[in-house]
């Protein structure tokens, strides 16, 4: 899909809108500035409102003043008598495609006006919407969008969308639709409470419907029951009789019922109550017997367990006595083992000490023998190392001599190479000098040629200036002549016209027979006067045409002279530029010649001496270079360098060998000294070791034997000690085992006794007599079973009495109940009524569920709005804030306020709105409390310009600014104007800006002129019968400005 190009307004037409009768304003189709200047009250603001109304069908300021949508009749020009007003806007895109927006409002003679006619707002939104923009907009809030990025109203509270007038500066929102967004959030919050109440009401309605259904069901069931009773046949017993029978049962079963004897006049309620009480008492007695039976059941195993525990306790006592005796024996044995171990440990320790001393003596003698052997071996190695070092020294000296000779040869070769490079360098310098000489000659020639050209150009410039002066003089003469001719023509024409009028009068009033002139009273022959008048008519016209012809010719001559003067001016500028260029070239050439003259080889040597000197120098240097080349070529450099390299390597190896031999010799020497030192030290410690080698051998044998004997004795002592320890440990293990067995027997005995005590306590607690045997349990169980069977019979009797009593009651109430239920509405058609109530329940159920879903959905929607607000803050407001602060820097002079931030609360109730805050002296303060009205105006403008750049939703990039600098000083007004003209030049905006200050209007035009911004000035001069009187001037061609890259 092709992208639609950007749009420019080209025409604005207003008819009978507000103060305007008729206005047609042509706008250049491109970036430009349109200036509306003039005193207050002449219609500047109305022009902005006309554009707003034309595009959106509303005027936001007037809507707010009216407290809603303004009556269209208020927009019609007062006193015009018209039945409609209209605004038309024409646009053209970059490729020339025309678009039009027309809006007409018809005002009927009677009744309220209808909707405006023409282009609908959705089409306007579609026309303006940019395809390229990433900021999609809908048509719902086109007015908000325009106020966000295009329209800056004069009234402060309308500068951006605000929440209320009081906070107009504190919290402004740059977001088209944010007001609606906040309204949705607020309404949703308010609706939540109402929805909760609605849900609760519907829940009550549902409960009510369910209750009605339940009550109805109960009544129907009761009615059926009564019918069943009526049909039932059976014994009917009166309450008094029932009471007597219950009394008998009470006596028979020994269960007293409170108040049974005190009843004198028996009622149905008394009888039912007595039955209920007796039944409760009877059932309680049954439950008590059941519990007792269960308890006895639980004690069924107790007699046998008790007998077993008693037998076990009695059997363990002899075992315990036997184990106690065994333990006493083993303790005595252990005491004797422990004493033996102590004695053997002392003997073993002594044997160990003897073995250590013998081993030390053996090791000492062994070391002395080894030292003697080391001395002999190291002395031999030292003699070998001495010989090797002497040989390496000789070889190295021989190699050094050869290496020195080769090094001298290589150095001689390198010296030749360096000399050759020096000669080459001299030769290059000499060649450069020759080139410089050539260039100096050529430059000098060029200088002379340019000098001649410069003279010619100066003459040419002078000539052109002379000619232009002559033409200017001639033009002045012609202008003067034209003025005199025009003056003459004016007087002639005046006279001629008067004459012509007279002649016409004469011609019209003089008849053929008249002889006296009515003008001069001269008498003529009959017919002569009339013919003279007619002739005069013919004479005047050619004379006037003649004058006009002369004037036309003079004007043409004047134009031709002006054109010639212009052409000569162009020639003069060109000649002047050529002369300047030529002078510049001359200067550069002269400078180059001076530079060349400063060359060291030719400085101070004029031609041809300089050339001869340098040429001779080059010949000499070339010969020297050739000689060196030959000498170097004769040397076999590869072989020379290889030999030098080989000798160097050999020398290094020999040097390394010598160092190694020297090191070995030193090491042997050191080793020998160490061995001698060790022998001396040992001799000092053990004087008897310093003997001959034979004596050392005998000492070594004796030490070895002593060490072996001591070792054997120590081993034997250790073995005896180990055996004694094993016997002791075995006795300890036996003692421990015996003790454990004894403890276990005691525990079992105590456990049996405790078990018997517990069983006896449980038996007695169950009210059972001792002894603890099975026969006691059996007899108790039997008596309980007999009582239960008897009470079961009593319960059956009681049920029969209740049934009889119920029947007695049914027969007495039957008539009354039948009457009551049959009077119930719908009982006759109770099936239909039941269905009807069921349907009502279903309906109430559905209504409740919908209300509940709505309430839950409101929470869900709140969460979704919250998420959108948070995300929107990040995506829309953060870039806006960055740009806003850049605009602040450019617009607000005072740097203390550059820290104003457009902040927003992520996720808060006002997350889609802005607060302008100032960080001043370390404290965070509302901008409203700090800034002046003028500064707040700058903040507002910065916010709008930032919004325009941040949200480029429209392909009509325009700013409509109604008196934006009304509160500003010169510095701040200048800053704004600088930004605006840059927006026109660099960002392609169309700017419509108004001011009531005439001096500022002139200043604006000068500022626009300074950078070549095309402008139209609509100067409001007063009010006429058709509305504002506007004088339009423009400067649309700005040739001095280059196209910005």
């Amino acid at each position: 899909m092709s992208v639609r190009p950007e749009l420019f307004a080209t025409h604005l037409s207003i008819e009978n809108f507000r103060g305007y009768g008729r206005l047609d304003l042509e706008i250049p189709p491109g970036p430009c500035a349109i200036l509306l200047s003039g005193p207050n009250g002449l219609g500047k603001t109305s022009l902005f409102e006309a554009i707003e109304w034309g595009l959106t069908g509303t005027v936001k300021r007037l809507d707010e003043v009216a407290g809603g949508r303004i009556d269209a009749r208020e927009l019609l020009r007062k006193g015009s008598g018209a039945d409609r007003f209209e605004v038309r806007l024409a646009f053209r895109d970059r490729v020339g495609k025309e678009e039009r927006v027309t809006r007409t409002q018809i005002i009927p003679a009677t009744g309220a006006p209808g909707n405006s006619l023409g282009t609908d707002v959705a089409s306007v939104a579609d026309l303006l919407r940019s395809d390229e923009s990433r900021w999609s907009v809908g048509s719902t809030n086109i007015s908000d969008y325009l106020h966000l990025t295009h329209l800056h109203a004069q009234v402060a509270r309308l500068r951006l969308v605000t929440f209320n007038a009081k906070q107009r500066w504190v919290r402004v929102s740059p977001l088209a639709g944010a007001e609606r967004f906040e309204r949705v959030r607020l309404n949703l919050t308010n609706a939540k409470g109402a929805m909760s109440r609605l849900r609760d009401e519907r829940e009550k309605e549902l409960s009510f419907a369910l209750e009605r259904e339940r009550t109805w069901s109960e009544k129907v069931a009761r009615f059926s029951q009564l019918q069943d009773l009526r049909a039932a046949a059976g014994q009917i017993i009166s309450p008094g009789e029932v009471l007597n029978r219950v009394y008998d049962l009470s006596l028979r079963h020994g269960i007293p019922v409170a108040g049974l004897q005190s009843v004198t006049e028996v009622t149905l309620v008394d009888a039912i109550g007595t039955i209920r009480e007796f039944r409760i008492a009877l059932e309680a007695a049954q439950r008590a017997d059941q519990d007792r039976s269960l308890t006895i059941q639980g004690l069924r195993a107790t007699p046998s367990q008790y007998a077993a525990a008693q037998a076990e306790r009695d059997a363990i006592a002899p075992t315990i006595a036997k184990l106690e005796a065994e333990r006493t024996d083993v303790s005595a044995q252990l005491q004797s083992y422990t004493e033996s171990v102590g004695r053997l440990r002392a003997a073993s320790d002594e044997a160990q000490r003897v073995r250590d001393r013998a081993s030390a003596r053996h090791a000492l003698v062994t070391a002395a023998v080894r030292d003697r052997a080391d001395v002999r071996r190291v002395e031999g190695e030292l003699a070998e190392a001495e010989a090797a070092f002497t040989a390496a020294q000789g070889a190295l000296e021989e190699a050094d001599v050869g290496l020195r000779r080769k090094r001298e040869e290589v150095e001689a070769y390198d010296a030749r190479i360096r000399t050759r490079e020096e000669v080459r360098g001299h030769l290059v310098a000499t060649t450069a000098a020759i080139r410089a000489l050539d260039e100096r000659g050529a430059t000098r020639r060029a200088f002379e040629a340019e000098e001649a050209r410069n003279r010619l150009l100066s003459e040419s410039l002078h000539d052109v200036q002379q000619r232009r002066s002559a033409v200017a003089t001639e033009l002045a003469g012609k202008t003067e002549l034209l003025a005199s001719v025009q003056e003459e023509f004016a007087s002639v024409r005046s006279l001629t016209e008067r004459l012509q009028q007279a002649v016409v009068v004469v011609a019209e009033h003089v008849a053929h027979e008249d002889t006296a002139c009515p003008v001069c009273r001269t008498t003529f022959e009959p017919g002569r006067l009339r013919s003279l008048a007619r002739e005069s008519l013919g004479v005047v016209e050619p004379r006037i045409r003649e004058f006009e012809g002369r004037i036309t010719a003079l004007r043409e001559e004047q134009d031709a002279l002006r054109k010639r003067e212009l052409a000569l001016k162009a020639d003069e500028r060109k000649a002047d530029a050529d002369a300047r260029n030529s002078s510049e070239s001359l200067s550069q050439l002269g400078k180059r010649i001076s530079e060349l003259n400063a060359h060291p080889l030719i400085a101070g040597r004029p031609e041809p001496e300089g050339t001869a000197h340098v040429t001779a120098l080059r010949t000499q240097q070339s010969g020297e270079l050739a000689r060196l080349d030959r000498e170097i070529a004769e040397i076999d450099t590869d072989r020379l360098r290889q030999a030098h390299l080989d000798l160097s390597v050999t020398g290094e190896k020999l040097r390394s060998d010598r160092a190694a031999a020297h090191e070995r010799r030193n090491a042997r020497q050191t080793r020998l000294e160490e061995v001698h030192a060790r022998i001396s030290q040992r001799h000092a410690e053990q004087p008897d070791l310093d003997t001959t080698e034979q004596r050392l051998g005998l000492l070594l044998q004796a030490a070895a034997s002593g060490a072996a004997l001591a070792s054997e004795a120590a081993d034997n002592a250790a073995a005896a000690l180990a055996n004694a320890r094993a016997a002791e440990e075995n006795a300890m293990r036996v003692l421990a085992t015996t003790k454990e067995r004894e403890d276990e027997a005691l525990r079992r005995q105590q456990s049996s006794a405790a078990s018997m005590t517990a069983m006896r306590e449980r038996w007695i607690a169950s009210s059972l007599p001792e002894p603890i045997v099975d026969t006691v349990l059996d007899s108790t169980n039997e008596s309980i079973a007999q009582r239960q069977r008897s009470r079961d019979g009593a319960l059956r009797n009681l049920n029969e009495l209740s049934g009889a009593l119920e029947r007695w009651k049914g027969t007495s109430d039957l008539q009354a109940l039948d009457l009551e239920l049959r009077s119930e509405q719908g009982m006759a058609q109770r099936e239909e009524h039941t269905k009807h109530l069921g349907a009502a329940v279903l309906q109430a159920q559905a209504a409740f569920e919908t209300a509940k879903r709505a309430r839950d959905a409101s929470d869900e929607l709140s969460d979704a709005l919250q998420r959108v607000a948070t995300d929107y803050g990040e995506r829309a407001l953060r870039p806006f804030d960055a740009l806003f602060r850049r605009y602040l820097r450019a617009l607000v002079h005072d740097e203390r306020f550059h820290g104003i931030q457009a902040t927003y609360k992520g996720g808060g109730a006002r997350s889609a709105s802005l607060r302008f805050r100032v960080d001043l002296a370390g404290s965070d303060t509302d901008a409203e409390l700090i800034l002046s009205e003028g500064q707040l105006g700058e903040v507002s403008l910065a916010a709008m310009l930032a919004a325009s750049a941040t949200f480029p939703w429209s392909r009509w990039r325009a700013l409509l600014l109604d008196d934006p600098t009304q509160y500003n000083d010169l510095i701040h007004a200048t800053a704004l104007i600088d930004v605006l003209r840059n927006l026109v030049r660099r960002a392609g905006y169309q700017v419509i800006v108004s001011t009531h200050d005439g001096e500022q209007a002139a200043f604006l035009k000068r500022k626009f002129d300074a950078v070549g911004v095309p402008w139209i000035d609509c100067r409001y001069t007063g009010l006429g019968p058709d509305g504002p009187l506007i004088s339009v001037t423009s400067r649309l061609e700005q040739p001095q400005v280059a196209t910005a890259s």
Partner: protein, 232 residues
């Protein structure tokens, strides 16, 4: 005079030239303005606003530059301020600016701008901040900008300075991420993913909630529930 003044002026001039290129202008030295100084005191006083006090004659600043941005009518003057004798250095600059202004043809005087360079290390000086504020609000002759360089001036400081001048270009909004301008439209179009409302129900709800005259909370709640009843 601060020894680093020529270097700072050179750096500023380079950045000015680069910015001017963006507008299609070429910066050339204007020797006529550098040497301006023949206007009489009376001529100069006539160029001042009526309320300003007379300016005593001063020699022009020793270091000064004048640049013309061609082919526009913009003239820029550059000179330094002295810490030791601040008043003298500023009045000298002002005197020279007045002379230069008189030398410019009357129709082109609206775009004369004076750049004043303070000594290095004054960026964080409260005293110099006060001086800067005083100078930049001075309406005599032309608009003025004061650069307070740090101890080791960086090109970014010049960027910040020029962002406050007629060469600012605060309209680049490339960092903005795309989204709908109307957050509600976004919500209805692609953001609402709730379990309890269908997208159509959500749209109807938002339309009802967005009406200016909600008609009271009970009525609003009734209407919202009615939307769900109709849809089901």
């Amino acid at each position: 005079m601060d020894d680093s003044l020529p270097d700072l002026a050179e750096a500023l001039e380079q950045e000015l030239r680069a910015r001017a290129m963006l507008y299609g202008w070429t910066a050339v030295t204007n020797p006529q303005l550098v040497e301006a100084g023949n206007a009489s005191l009376m001529t100069l006083l006539a160029a001042l606003p009526h309320s300003t006090p007379p300016l005593p004659p001063r020699p022009p600043p020793r270091f000064r530059r004048a640049i013309e941005l061609q082919p526009s009518s913009l003239n820029l003057l550059v000179c330094g301020l002295d810490d030791a004798d601040f008043i003298h250095s500023y009045t000298s600059a002002l005197w020279w600016t007045g002379q230069a202004r008189v030398a410019i043809p009357p129709g082109k005087r609206s775009d004369l701008h004076l750049f004043l360079i303070a000594p290095t290390g004054t960026r964080d000086s409260p005293e110099w901040h006060g001086r800067r504020s005083e100078i930049e609000t001075d309406e005599r002759f032309c608009r003025k900008f004061v650069w307070l360089p740090s101890a080791a001036p960086e090109p970014a400081e010049i960027e910040v300075l020029l962002d406050r001048t007629f060469l600012a270009q605060p309209w680049d909004a490339n960092s903005a991420q795309p989204t709908a301008l109307d957050p509600l439209e976004r919500l209805v179009s692609d953001e609402y993913k709730g379990d309890l409302l269908t997208r159509e129900e959500a749209r109807d709800w938002l339309a009802r909630l967005g009406t200016i005259d909600a008609g009271g909370s009970p009525q609003l709640a009734e209407d919202l529930v009615a939307i769900l009843e109709r849809s089901s």
